[in-house]
């Protein structure tokens, strides 16, 4: 293996004692917090965070320091919400960080709250993460006991209450304004922005919302300075990133690397590459919401800017690898079904768009679609993007469009194959579940004959179908 991990956040993470306050302290934990209260002015901390260039690790990649600086000064009640509702397919880094090192997160929350004058903080953790929530509960109790939380922390006059709030299973609550509604005890529907949460968020007060990994970085930056932090990673993506790699690789899991290492090093080096006899066919570079990339893009550096230039995104830093046994149209259907299930239903383009995209992709794998339907699928995606209160609909539209555009041949082959031979490839389940008998024939056949065979006789085998001329 030519590449090694660069562990800042996951350093010593194999030590089970690290999850306890004594274990954390024995590795220098909470000394930064003590130093901050003793020696540092809140504004100096905000300045250091801004200087460090730390970008949000939850998906959007917005500057953490800028977010803090947007909060109004003054004496009104301000809130901090740590977004631990990690629900994006492919993402599981926050689970690891909270389970192995909960105090690192708490120390970050306390320092950020001190810097921004915040008195109430919440960790909104997804309900499925039951063990991790228990670990956080325990860690929070220990931090209260040690005087790092509560009234008049370390004699500074700063008060901070921290509550671990369990969600109950809804992807949409990872969206920051939906998270606020859920935390206020409502159904988790996103809000109209502006006003942005920094101005009007939880209970109508100014609210700072940050991801678990972002907040876990805070104490490291405050302890070592912005320049130290910027010595890791690239100019526009400083620091390290815990990358979740899953799918068709030998060693799936979380790896912490400097931003800017190549995707090949991540997928082939750390994760061990595809399984025996398989090749990488496509991959999501930043969770299921990111447009898929192809093996041609494996040598790109893994950074916010390089992924954006490649027409995709780094997102939450979750790589899902599809090897050559995976049918891309079926993967598109899985992806669309997830977003259809999770759409909250508030905005029409998302609610209806995800529904009809699923229906159309089901027609594709059943052989009832025509190549023209692929154009309709992409046009539906174009009409979702940017037309909703939040980006849930966009999160389906972007990867589905990318799959149809980059693997159009495969979609056409699946349609042809299904029309002639019944439901193709790896997964006939979709058709059977809906009680529809797949092929032979199918609605698409006549159109296929017209559009693609141009009057020639129907091919007899899948192989022959694959050799059909393109329209």
């Amino acid at each position: 293996m030519s590449i090694v991990e660069t562990r800042i956040l996951l350093r010593h993470a194999s030590d089970p004692e690290l999850a306890t306050i004594d274990g954390y302290r024995s590795h220098g934990g909470y000394s930064t917090l003590e130093k901050a209260y003793d020696d540092l002015e809140p504004d100096a901390i905000v300045h250091e965070l801004e200087e460090s260039g730390l970008r949000g690790r939850g998906g959007a990649g917005f500057s953490m320091g800028k977010k803090v600086s947007f909060l109004p000064h003054g004496n009104q009640t301000k809130y901090l919400c740590c977004n631990a509702d990690e629900s994006e397919p492919g993402a599981f880094k926050d689970r690891e960080l909270m389970q192995r090192n909960p105090h690192q997160l708490i120390e970050g929350i306390v320092i950020a709250s001190y810097a921004a004058g915040i008195s109430h903080a919440f960790i909104f953790i997804r309900g499925e993460y039951d063990i991790q929530a228990d670990i956080l509960d325990q860690a929070v109790a220990e931090a209260y006991e040690a005087g790092y939380l509560g009234k008049n922390i370390l004699g500074s006059g700063h008060n901070l209450e921290l509550v671990v709030h369990r969600g109950a299973g809804a992807y949409i609550c990872g969206e920051e304004t939906a998270l606020l509604d859920a935390l206020e005890g409502k159904r988790g529907n996103p809000r109209l922005k502006p006003p942005f949460p920094a101005v009007q968020g939880l209970y109508g007060g100014p609210t700072l919302i940050n991801n678990v990994e972002t907040l876990s970085n805070v104490s490291h930056i405050v302890a070592n300075g912005a320049d130290w932090f910027k010595s890791f990673g690239t100019e526009r993506s400083p620091g390290t990133k815990v990358v979740s790699i899953s799918g068709g690789v030998r060693r799936p899991g979380n790896y912490e690397v400097e931003l800017g290492v190549s995707l090949r090093d991540l997928i082939y080096g750390l994760a061990g590459g595809p399984l025996d006899g398989r090749e990488v066919k496509a991959f999501y570079p930043g969770g299921s919401s990111s447009p898929v990339l192809t093996p041609a893009e494996l040598d790109l550096p893994y950074s916010f800017e390089a992924m954006a230039e490649a027409g995709s995104m780094l997102g939450s830093g979750s790589i899902i690898v599809a090897d050559d046994s995976v049918s891309i149209p079926h993967m598109a259907l899985r992806t669309a079904r997830f977003y259809h299930h999770e759409s909250c239903g508030k905005c029409t383009p998302c609610r209806e768009g995800t529904y009809w995209t699923v229906k159309m992709l089901e027609r594709v794998v059943r052989g009832e679609a025509t190549p023209m339907d692929l154009d309709i699928i992409t046009s539906v995606q174009q009409n979702i993007i940017g037309h909703c209160l939040c980006v849930l609909g966009d999160s389906m539209a972007m990867p589905v469009s990318a799959m149809v555009n980059k693997f159009r041949n495969e979609f056409e082959e699946v349609i042809a194959h299904a029309a002639i031979n019944g439901v193709p490839t790896t997964d006939g389940r979709e058709a059977q579940e809906d009680g529809v008998e797949p092929g032979p024939g199918g609605v698409g056949l006549e159109v296929l004959r017209r559009e693609r065979l141009m009057g020639r006789p129907l091919p007899e085998s899948p192989q022959a179908a694959e050799e059909m001329p393109r329209a």
Partner: protein
Amino acid sequence: MDDFTPTEDFISPGLPVDQANTTGREPLGDPQEVPELSEVDCPDELREAIEASMALYPDHKSASIPALWAVQRTYGWCTPEGMRQAAAVMKVTPAYLESVASFYDLFRLKPSGESQVLVCTNISCWMRGGDELLDAFCEASGADRGEAGHGGAMSADGEVMISGFECLGACDLAPMASVNERYFGPLEPADAKTAINQLGRGEDVLPDKLLAARPLPGGDQESSDERLTSSKGPNR
């Protein structure tokens, strides 16, 4: 205008009824009125749990999700009676709590047995056999596969709920399942029968497949990078 008396057909015009929303429901009073605590017979333990949650938040309504968790812990699912009791403690309407409960996937609005098995069928697990794992759990428990893929199905003995589920955030364990809120993986189809048998006998489920027992994939590493070894922050 004459008094209008609705016919039975008008009230229930023979439309299919959503079991999830109606099973076990008795006429319990007006869901739009805040019930009095004295009329709901709320167990002390449940009331105290909900009141403790309410005290944690600047606005007591924030406790609706914790309150529903408490109801589910007490009764095994979010029963209409339980939600009414919680509503009385929180001074909100039962309709409000039900609207919240029906939004979230983990709140169960119908009886769901002693144990719950959630099998992830999302992208990474699907690639590595998540569907086959769900098949195996259904076969081992006698649950209906079609229903299990669409919101959950009960085992033949009514003790275990099997449900296909969206991403549980453990793609490194793919294919994986959550059994009574604990994560297990990677699982073979044969593990399903073992797990169902262990649940039936009241034993620990698949101890060697538990997430908590899993090391970091990159192992225990110590770096010689001076920037890390000289760090003044945590994790020194």
